[in-house]
Symmetry: C2
Subunit: 446 residues, 2 copies
């Protein structure tokens, strides 16, 4: 199922097209391989989660210039008639190797490699980086939240503050892959069949004469699905009002699911609210909390003994606030049957078509990764890059979201605990195979 | 012209719909007014630029539930048949006051106010916040870059690293409003008629036998539009190679536009490259620079004497990296003919339908803003909120992008210089009128 409509071939930086025109005029059609990878870890991060591949494959499968695209390109006056004719018939005909979505990976490891005639491989650069960058970023951040929450439920509440429409969809999808239970985003519920979750806003409470009236009204509409927001006036009074209404509900065979805290000292308030419910003989009422949560604040309130069953995680997840972008790049590594690389200061790349090999320790945990050359054999290692597209055609249907979610969860179990901590300094061991190292020294730098 | 397709009414948090169901069942249909504003300045910011209104008005004009939306909502089992029937006929029928795009505004000032039957006013909350939040954020950041660049040209290079597809379009549009000259985003060129700009990547240089061959090839394809990337191997050698090719081009009646630096010490390299061109009698060759620029790095390299004519501004603008979200909210301020407000800790709001009045000093510069009540009169003040929608219909066509851009530029001239500095601490003076203050004290807090 397509998550977002493919934006088409004009969703690109102009230079991809001007370079294409240069290649075309000079008859440069040789095959090139490009490698997509992340150069560095954002502060505090020690792993990434592969994501975004479904949109990549959908976009590449259907890549073509519409009549209006062609008309626009002509109108710029930049391109020859012959090149415009070439673009009319343009399709992506290359091969793609990629890590399946949900795979845990590390800096400098290629998460995707493309081999195609150079014009094609180049033209898709901007689309590829844009399409996998944010999903990787947000899946990785969501995994950190999941780890911090220690088996408490997390719900995506980010939609109002994401940086636009498709990021809102991508946060719902990729936080679900990482283990979130639900999203507040109804469109994601419809398109991706992710469970949806929602409570009430302060305005609802204010639209009735008093808090009890608002709770009663809501419980009548949602007798088995109500979560009351209790901080509009005073959280502890709100909790006592919730008790009153919960007891009324029980007389009618209804049942209050929970309450939500949205301001104030979350650890302290949640402990007090828990006690109010327990003292009233209502231990089944759950406490939801929202308001600025991310992996750091979740860790903090849990360490203070917060009695919170479920966290709404919003803005800071939705824009990956502490690390809002990745140093993700797409670089040519092989051209005309020669391995190549770039040497610009601080931006050097690794030549050659690659594979990533993962070795496990005796307990079955990740031990080390080795970046090797594509056709290398390595004993006792799992290969992370799979061939997913050949001659522009997908090799198999994309796995359903639930499968990706399960695969991530199983994968995450095998990442040693030390790399999951929020401030771990030591990077996971990633080395180069001897064969890949040897290539780098072979005078490629013309 | 629509910039991005409206995402429809399911692009919402579930609670907007569950609250709607509660209101519907309890026959709560009274008119409510909601105010959309930013509670605080992100670190270092002292003004905002209004943006995103065109998408808001397009979305509200056409807001309706499709058959598949209705089918999905039924399938959730959350809603009564009667409410589902109501949703089938749902349209937005309210009034909207808003600041025109390009208006400079400040924290706590309503940038948009909606008056509508409460279900309608509530349902659009998530859509409104999402639709104006990022455009305001990026237009404001772009304005800071424009100010820092002191009349040098800026080009949006962010597309590969934005947090998705529509953010890429929104960065192109809103940085153009703020004064950027062009974008690398070809789709924005097509849809929004923004000038497009592009050069070449390192891979292009690497695809030829040497740098000179690559430059020659490119110049043949783009005799009057070439910008050479000169840092693939060594920036200063690259500059000397550019001189060679530029001289060849002149013999054929062509002309090199410029070169681009993409790594290394930008101030130092640009000074040396400028000297190479000037010494070669090629003073017309322009120097473009990219690589991690934002308002801070632009300020830094200019202060070091960089000879840069045009900056490519990418990732850090594209995600507003130093402040990736706004504390933007949408709060009920009037209901059933009563002014209302919320008192949650640190989240208090201002009751009442409002207007923002701007006063100017003797030189015509902004002097102070006063938030008053909607129908208040104030001498010598400009009213910032305009009625843009009545009974769900737009009152006039949306202004073309060029007009918004000009209006912003004229507006920005009038903002005193002190508030434009990158680290100004003192906020611009915004006060409440006596009439608005009086409302806040009238025992609204039920």
């Amino acid at each position: 199922m397509t998550q977002t409509q493919s934006p088409g071939p004009l969703f690109t930086d102009l230079y991809e097209l001007t370079m294409g025109a240069g290649y075309y005029e000079h008859k440069v059609f040789s095959e090139a391989t490009f490698s997509l990878f992340i150069r560095n870890y954002p502060l505090g991060r020690r792993y990434f989660v592969a994501a975004g591949l479904e949109d990549v494959l959908n976009g590449l499968s259907d890549l073509h210039f519409s009549e209006s695209d062609i008309a626009y390109l002509k109108s710029t006056g930049l391109f020859s008639e012959a090149f415009i004719e070439y673009l009319k018939g343009f399709r992506f005909s290359g091969n793609v190797y990629a890590m399946p979505e949900g795979t845990i990976f590390f800096a400098n490891e290629p998460v995707l490699e493309v081999t195609a005639p150079i014009i094609e491989a180049q033209l898709i650069e901007t689309f590829l980086l844009n399409t996998v960058g944010f999903p990787i970023l947000v899946a990785s951040k969501a995994a950190r939240c999941i780890h911090a929450a220690k088996n408490r439920q997390l719900v995506d509440f980010s939609l109002r503050r994401t940086q636009g429409v498709d990021p809102g969809m991508k946060v719902a999808r990729n936080s679900y892959i990482a283990g979130f239970s639900a999203t507040s985003n109804v469109l994601a519920g419809k398109r991706l069949r992710i469970p949806i979750s929602g409570t009430m806003a302060h305005s609802f409470v204010m639209a009735f004469d008093d808090e009890v009236s608002a709770f009663l009204a809501y419980s009548k509409t949602f007798p088995m699905n109500s979560v009351f927001l209790i901080d509009t006036y005073d959280t502890l009074k709100g909790a006592r009002n919730a008790v009153k209404v919960a007891k009324e509900m029980e007389k009618k065979g209804a049942s209050l699911v929970g309450v939500r805290l949205d301001s104030g000292d979350m650890a302290d308030l949640s402990i007090k609210v828990r006690k109010i419910f327990d003292d009233a003989g209502l231990p089944h009422i759950k406490i939801f909390a929202s308001s600025g949560f991310d992996e750091y604040k979740i860790t903090d309130v849990i360490s203070k003994g917060a009695k919170i069953d479920s966290f709404g995680v919003g803005t800071k997840l939705g824009v990956s606030a502490d690390a809002p972008y990745l140093d993700i790049v797409y670089k040519m590594v092989r051209f005309k049957d020669n391995d190549v690389r770039k040497l610009s200061p601080d931006k050097a790349t690794l030549a050659g078509k690659k594979q990533v090999f993962r070795k496990y320790d005796a307990k079955g945990q990740f031990q080390e990764d080795i970046i090797g050359i594509r056709e290398e054999h390595m004993d006792y290692a799992i290969l992370l890059l799979e061939k997913v597209m050949e001659y522009g055609k997908c090799l198999r249907p994309h796995p359903p979201l639930e499968i990706i979610r399960t695969q991530f969860s199983e994968n995450f179990e095998l990442l040693p605990e030390t790399y999951k901590s929020l401030d771990h300094q030591q990077p996971y061991p990633v080395s180069l195979s001897k064969r890949l190292s040897d290539i780098q020294e072979m005078g490629l730098d013309r």
